[in-house]
Symmetry: C2
Amino acid sequence: MSSLPATSAPTALDLTLDGGALTAQLVDFPSVSGEEQALADAVEAALRTLPHLTVDRYGNNVVARTHLGRAERVLLAGHLDTVPIADNVPSRVEGDVLWGCGTSDMKSGVAVQLRLAATLPDPNRDLTFVFYDCEEVDAVRNGLGHLVARHPDWLAADFAVLMEPSGAMVEGGCQGSLRIKIMLTGVRAHSARSWNGDNAIHQAAEVLARLRAYQARRVEIDGLEYREGLNAVGITGGVAGNVIPDECVVTVNFRFAPDRSEAQAEAHLREVFAGFAFEVVDSSPGALPGLGQPAAQAFLAATGGEARAKFGWTDVARFSALGVPAVNFGPGDPNLAHKRDEHVSLSAIAEVERKLRAWLTAA
Amino acid sequence: MSSLPATSAPTALDLTLDGGALTAQLVDFPSVSGEEQALADAVEAALRTLPHLTVDRYGNNVVARTHLGRAERVLLAGHLDTVPIADNVPSRVEGDVLWGCGTSDMKSGVAVQLRLAATLPDPNRDLTFVFYDCEEVDAVRNGLGHLVARHPDWLAADFAVLMEPSGAMVEGGCQGSLRIKIMLTGVRAHSARSWNGDNAIHQAAEVLARLRAYQARRVEIDGLEYREGLNAVGITGGVAGNVIPDECVVTVNFRFAPDRSEAQAEAHLREVFAGFAFEVVDSSPGALPGLGQPAAQAFLAATGGEARAKFGWTDVARFSALGVPAVNFGPGDPNLAHKRDEHVSLSAIAEVERKLRAWLTAA
């Protein structure tokens, strides 16, 4: 397994390695968001050696497909980028654990995709492998979003598996996310004569009191329990140490279960914050788990039959918007994503690969 | 009256001009805090032409004194610096109004000092004129503070008049000011799984509720009513748009009446914010008006007998700490200080000069 310094990163991928070793090779190939080109080149080059796949590329997004005329098409998607490296590249192995940036989120999932692409020339369903860039940054840069906009035909499928870290469990759907800015305004004055002013920060007392008192909903959808959350994620106010401030802004993040639309989520916040002005900063829809659909049922059966709700927002919502049922299923641990001590279990990588292989080769 | 562009600022002061014209000349002599040297040079040069005064200098602080062996010594103090110029230099006159940076705060007061220095060779009390730098910036840079530390003998007096803008009214004493930072801490978590965290911003709800409910005290001291104020002047919290924040800091400013010491003011805040940790960021004592003392009584009688409380903190507190009773009495309007449209009434300049002259020449 590689332990080269980052300065001599690999330049090609070896798809004959096992899933763990291939994950290590991918981790040792730095690909922080915006800097995925070298890795996308290597992925494309490796896939082009496989005669059973056609390969397309748009920017640093690579799509490889079988064309076997099967009754069903399954899409396996993973992002190539990572959050910034934090002294955790190159990777290193200790027993069953592989340490390094992107081990969980989500180069272990990408390794499983590449392993299946290389070793399943004759699957029971047609396969589409999607590798994309800029998942860890602003939504406008997201490579999967660019493919949706420019090449939706490349993404046609009956079911999608997004290989985001899910602890080798099937995680259905995802919650939506709405971010708002509540603007409180007052009247500026010198703090020595504060009665001439109206303190905007003091007005935030009521906003924060409503947040603290808020009882977040829990709701069951397709047998999965979603748990909402409403939180201040930022507050800022103040002009100078001797000035009664005339402005205070509270940024609030609402994570809502996928039975609410974005419009319904916003309407709910208009009720919660009645009497206060706010603007929506950004909004992402949730995705219903869709576990009742036949393709999802077959997948669930093949992978053990158990699923849980996904709380974080993931790109499954983009597939949901395309009408493609999608789940999260990857070897990484979602609680380790973006952490300095990010790591992954080698046996989880093997387990996820084995389950997907069984599902895609069953008679 | 001068209306030269700032690029041809005057280089000498003409003490034969009337108070308004001399104020205009001082305004046209830019002296933003830290850049007072040219003006201090001009003040020193003008004073050294007056044979009835001895002149001392420390940095950009100039002190001129009579030595007539009078029973009482009176100190008149003013700062040479201004806040940054805001397209309001050179000065201009419209009717009774002189416009420009520093007209109110406090070159009109300095003009009155210089007029009295030049024209009172034989006053009924010995006189000390203090001109100092860096009043408008951090307390550690304050020129009067430097004189207190290095040349306290230059400041010996029975009574002091600080020529800060007071609308030609006697303003007694000043309030103290205490600034604290209340630190709220929680536990960071992803906002999609907010129940794993503890939101520090939500904890600020109680702090802000106490501030909003606070009933500020009004207290009468020496016949003057002081009105306190307790306000958040800053709040900041938040890590990222998808993170439950583990820290929130509320900065609070307490303006307290001069019957409380700094220690008593802090103890009061410990009660108000019981249950919350805070640190004192900075603290300035108030100054009792001291209007019961004989020197102050004589001054009050000569200037009309009326006085009101000073709410803003001023350098009278430094004299108070030296045991010298002090009042604020200047022609500027305190509500215009630091404003782009700063101006002063020419008749107020004449009135303040006339009252001081009458007091200092009465038989």
